[in-house]
Symmetry: C2
Subunit: 143 residues, 2 copies
């Protein structure tokens, strides 16, 4: 199996310093900072946004795999991941991820869909890697 690589560089102190993140695939290189991470904002990514992108992407692909095996492949699966960073006694922690997915898959009933969505949530490699985090799923079919 392939090994996926990515790089980060940080220069200077935590609060006044600045960082850059780079994907080895070549599709992204850009800045990140403690300010956007801890206060929010746009124009820079954060580790939490990257975790959310990984999770939304992995879950959507895993749900497609489930729907494909069920012979009801999706017209679309649209998933948003919201990653919650919290201040805890042991420092900053990612304590919760909310996945919201909306799916169009002709020929599928709601009960079977709910079962397959749950399987995808539990079995996707990123969910398994993030087992230490509370993961909530809101899944619904669209017509």
């Amino acid at each position: 199996m392939p090994v996926a690589k990515a790089n980060a560089e940080w220069r200077g102190t935590l609060r006044e310093g600045a960082g850059t993140i780079k994907f080895s695939s070549g599709v992204f290189e850009g800045p990140y900072s403690f300010k956007v991470r801890s206060e929010g904002g746009a124009g820079e990514t954060t580790p939490e946004e990257l975790i959310g992108a990984a999770h939304a992407g992995c879950f959507s692909m895993a749900l497609s795999a489930q729907l494909t095996t069920n012979k009801t492949p999706p017209d679309y699966i649209r998933t948003e991941a919201a990653v919650h960073l919290a201040a805890t006694p042991s420092g900053l922690s990612i304590n919760r991820i909310d996945l919201v997915t909306r799916v169009k898959a002709p020929g599928l009933d709601a009960a079977k869909f709910a079962e397959l969505a749950k399987t995808a949530k539990e079995g996707c490699p990123v969910s398994k890697a993030l087992a230490a985090v509370e993961i909530h799923l809101d899944a619904a079919l669209e017509s």
Copy 2:
């Protein structure tokens, strides 16, 4: 604390379908596929590359925090994360991440650096979220 969001869309079956990943910060939107994920390649991201970017970024920022507190802030911290995806009896799994970091921080000795790097590895929010994954760290000072 802010909530970081990202979105994914998948269309079609696992193997013939295609996906798009989008960051809510607006800095990236691009394709991902099962082919690049399972066989490797460039030009598209993968969930594992995104996990690697999150981890390299988080660890580097956490190490800057340690070095800042130690009053030896870094000129630079350069970290690569390599994320290993493996086929297991329970399906694909992210089973190992290798962090390789090279740091220039004037006034710091190797023993203290090793201690601070270990603390950053164990305490960074992404490491804690990825507690289910074996994480290896190769850390060295550069002059």
